[in-house]
């Protein structure tokens, strides 16, 4: 026990010392560093469709991947000049802080607490929670489920907040928690649950993979914004990434963003209006 305590203490000591050194090290900016390297190093995952996952030919694909390609295209005029570093969700912030990657695009929910440790880019998507129903099932939509009160059972991924999350939309519903996504969907298919509640994007993707079997309830809640993250202390780099993402959502690169959005979410984003830049209103 004392040995472990010593190890941990020594580890923290070394780490804090190293952080102190690293803080003063970077002479040239990240933007120049990336340009002269000739490729962008992007941290992301590989197990969560439609965000970042491997398709059947083992290529990394998804909406996060497309966002990274937009940044790479802005840098090199070539969206393929990217080295992806595979990382677990818990590694997103550490890998930025320790310079393992230039940028991470991995459905990072923007929160003020996280913004104390890393710099967030502008959001590129707003995630919510939706309810998926079997087509032609007992309930047609959200209103019917709400009217049915406690007769409704909702399957959801196991999570500390799962119960509250469902009750925010359906206060009286019974909540069945499952520990994996496929079990959650199976509960819906087998009739154990009347609806499955999870991230809107995941549901959209799943419905697109299984056409004509499911319907959306028509109600979404629990908004959260997704942005990329970069290291703090380099405003030029952050600004570059922001410009690349913003112009993909509102300007010259909109067709690229639109194509990615349609491919992974199955619907089209609203076209930017010509004239006054509406995002500044």
């Amino acid at each position: 026990m004392r040995n472990i305590a010593k190890t941990i203490a020594a580890g923290f000591g070394a780490l804090s010392l190293a952080v102190a050194f690293a803080g003063t090290a970077s002479a040239e900016g990240k933007l120049q560093e990336v340009l002269s390297r000739g490729k962008l190093i992007v941290g992301t995952g590989s197990t969560n469709p439609p965000w970042h996952f491997r398709d059947e030919s083992n290529e990394l694909v998804g909406f996060d991947i497309e966002m990274a390609k937009i940044v790479a295209a802005g840098l090199f005029d070539d969206p393929t000049k990217i080295e992806f570093v595979n990382q677990a969700s818990d590694a997103r912030i550490p890998n930025i802080v320790t310079d393992k990657v230039d940028i991470t695009c991995q459905f990072v929910t923007i929160t003020a607490a996280r913004a104390q440790q890393v710099a967030f880019t502008i959001p590129y998507y707003r995630e919510g929670v939706s309810l998926m129903l079997v087509k032609g099932g007992k309930y047609a939509n959200y209103e019917a489920m709400k009217a049915a009160g406690s007769a409704v059972t909702v399957s959801v991924l196991q999570n500390v907040f799962a119960e509250d999350m469902v009750h925010a939309a359906l206060p009286e519903a019974t909540v069945d928690q499952f520990e994996s996504v496929d079990l959650m969907y199976q509960a819906l298919n087998s009739g154990r649950a009347d609806a499955a509640a999870t991230d809107s994007s995941s549901l959209l993707y799943y419905m697109k993979q299984n056409p004509d079997r499911y319907v959306d309830s028509g109600y979404s809640w629990n908004p959260q914004s997704y942005g990329c993250i970069v290291k703090q202390g380099d405003p030029d780099w952050l600004n570059f990434v922001n410009v690349a993402l913003r112009e993909a959502m509102t300007g010259t690169q909109f067709p690229v963003y639109k194509a990615a959005y349609e491919k992974w979410f199955g619907t089209s984003p609203a076209e930017p209006t010509i004239g006054f830049p509406a995002e500044l209103r």
């Binding site: 040995n3 580890g11 491997r54 059947e56 320790t98």
Partner: protein, 217 residues
């Protein structure tokens, strides 16, 4: 079952690559760990007391720390010091250091289990220390250390699955990627479990065969 086999066929090469990487990482770790362990084990028994101290600290720290913590430390601590190891390099480093401590300890145990009369007899007939090690002590110690050494190998193969946490594309991560795409959680985890079991059973069998041939207890 048909759906599973169809998905398995689509994913055969990534899974096979992951399987090979799992074996490659484990072999690299056990080879490096054995080299480190040999030095550590011999030093723990024969080095003068003060020179022994760093080895004692090394063994205690490595054995007293969870492998996952070692892996994360090997991945992040060199990075903040400005030395960027790839995830695979960091993973092999962590597993090798972990194995080195365990092998060092089991070699120390084996060396100390040899009756002191043997070393005394060796010295009495004029053997130098390297000769004594090579001809008298190590041949006996290695035989005794073999069964626990195989055991360490089995632990390493299982431990290599933790490298999925730092993004090494070994068998477990490749399996999770397939599951992420097709939602066949149970089928593919069972498949990965059987693959790990297969490697470990083969390793165990090889170990037993060698033990029999060497006539260890």
């Amino acid at each position: 079952m048909d759906a599973f086999l169809a998905q398995l066929w689509i994913a055969r090469w990534p899974l096979f690559d992951g399987f090979l990487l799992t074996i490659g990482i484990s072999v690299a770790a056990i080879v490096l760990g054995t080299l480190v362990g040999a030095v550590v084990g011999i030093s723990l028994v024969f080095a003068p007391k003060l020179a022994r101290l760093p080895f004692v600290v090394y063994v205690d720290v490595m054995r007293g720390t969870p492998v996952l913590v070692l892996i994360l430390a090997a991945f992040y601590i060199p990075a903040v010091l400005g030395l960027s190891l790839s995830a695979t390099q960091a993973g092999v480093l962590a597993l090798a250091l972990f194995a080195g401590a365990h092998i060092g300890e089991l070699l120390r145990g084996a060396l100390q289990a040899i009756p002191p009369g043997q070393a005394e007899a060796g010295r009495a007939i004029g053997l130098t220390f390297p000769q004594l090690l090579a001809h008298v002590l190590l041949p006996q110690a290695v035989r005794m250390a073999l069964p626990p050494w195989i055991n360490t190998g089995v632990e390493l193969i299982k431990g290599s699955s933790l490298l999925s946490m730092i993004g090494v594309g070994e068998l477990l991560l490749r399996t999770q990627e397939v599951i992420g795409r097709n939602f066949m959680t149970i089928q593919f985890y069972v498949f990965a479990g059987l693959a790990y079991l297969l490697v470990n059973v083969v390793l165990d069998t090889i170990g037993r065969t060698i033990e029999r041939r060497l006539g260890t207890r």
